[in-house]
Point group: C2
Chain length 238, copies 2
DNA sequence: GGCTGGCATTGACAAGAATCAAGTAGGATT
DNA sequence: AATCCTACTTGATTCTTGTCAATGCCAGCC
């Protein structure tokens, strides 16, 4: 994989990452010196579970999936990372092997930090260490949120939640474009592609219509309602 | 809640925590100065989701559950923490409110650090910051593991995995005692108590027998096998 | 000893999701 | 335009899980 120096627009994305945004300019300049970037095609594997964790990654553009292949043959999609997000911090920090694999799901521009150089900066800069804590804390919240969803919502409700996050704050009547394959969305939500199809169908009464990769939501509030309560009324404790 | 100074055996538990074990003695002595401990009965709520996150917690003995109550009425159990484990690091670090609630599920001895004092030590000690990174990374792995389980295994398999972790490395014929209510185990595994009962029943053919809170496993290897493959054969890719 | 209340199991049924097997629709290729 | 491929949908069936109701079991209590 051919890697190069970052352009100024790459640096703008880096600057805004949770890991670095609290850094003063001089410290960020040192970061900029050790980063390298690469353009990768869809389907490129960045690392396999078990590989030595010798790098930290960030997404400049595109989408990366972090997943684990389990013995029984199917794949658990643990996270999807887009522009401005970093991943594999914990692995690089703990050392040893990556606990999961990662690969691009669309054409991507990726930035990378080699472990030794990054570790040097980390040891020298308490601010960077805070940034790292912040990143890990955010990841932890996201994954915890996934556990909550998987434990307490059915497939339709999880899909509703997924669509609402794609709305990014817009409310009312919204049209969103699915950023990747439905098969991947299904895996991300912990279900099979067939079930995703049926879940989309099941959301039609709640005002969701799908055409190819364009989803129209009649009213985000109605969908949010469905996401919370599902079809069944909630039991109110006395 | 009445809180006191730690005894020397409390300090031994603290010393072994992932957060502190890499600290040199003088730094640990500063930690010991700001910690307080309390004995709490079963069912004591440590904090509610939304409360100001002004403390970091550790378990000296007993078990604590971290959970979220969702609007629809049921509860997602996000983690169970026992002797030597810390929790709420991320919340305390990020500031703002706790994203979840926590309470004792048996009588517990708990240690606590007030945020301002802990923050002072954290700012002054890069080693402590590393310890914090380590703790968060461990939590992240655990939660990620849960997502993988929920996405790829059915209830019986998740129960098998849970029982195997209780074995703590022992193999062959093993007898374990369930550390808390079956209702709690069910919630932890993302199912209803009725389903847990049936899952136990479903594991009988795999050599699992239950009497009250004592579980006998005929052969851990056989159970591990079931946990991986379930009843259905795996598709081998060509 | 007989109540009572909390946990745990069991049974019957309905909803949810996986599986297996067709079938459809687009987009790209030729 | 005919084809092929892939992604997606739909249908039928089975397995898994939630729901609701009934029962058993044990512990603490009067």
């Amino acid at each position: 994989m051919e890697s190069r120096k970052p352009t100024s627009s790459d640096l703008a994305v880096l600057r805004a990452m949770a890991l670095f945004r609290a850094l003063p300019d001089p410290a960020f300049r040192r970061i900029a010196e050790i980063v390298s970037v690469a353009d990768l095609p869809k389907g490129h594997v960045l690392f396999h579970q078990g590989d030595g964790a010798d790098r930290l990654y960030g997404v400049i553009s595109g989408w990366v999936e972090v997943y684990r292949d389990v013995e029984s043959g199917d794949r658990a999609v643990l996270g999807l990372f887009g522009r401005g997000e970093t991943f594999a911090e914990a692995a690089m920090f703990l050392g040893g092997g990556f606990p999961a694999s990662a690969g691009t799901v669309v054409a991507c521009r990726i930035c990378m930090f080699d472990r030794p150089a990054f570790e040097r900066l980390l040891a020298a800069d308490p601010q960077l260490c805070r940034g790292m804590l912040g990143s890990l804390a955010i990841h932890l919240h996201r994954v915890t949120h996934d556990v909550e969803q998987l434990q307490t919502r059915n497939g339709r409700q999880r899909l509703a939640g997924f669509l609402l996050r794609l709305c990014e704050g817009r409310t009312g009547r919204v049209e969103v474009t699915l950023p990747f394959d439905k098969a991947l969305i299904a895996a991300r939500l912990g279900m099979k592609p067939e079930s995703l199809s049926r879940s989309f169908a099941g959301l039609r009464p709640s005002g969701v219509r799908v055409a190819h990769s364009v989803v129209t939501i009649d009213d985000t509030r109605r969908l949010a309602d469905y996401c919370r309560n599902g079809t069944l009324r909630s039991r109110r404790p006395a």
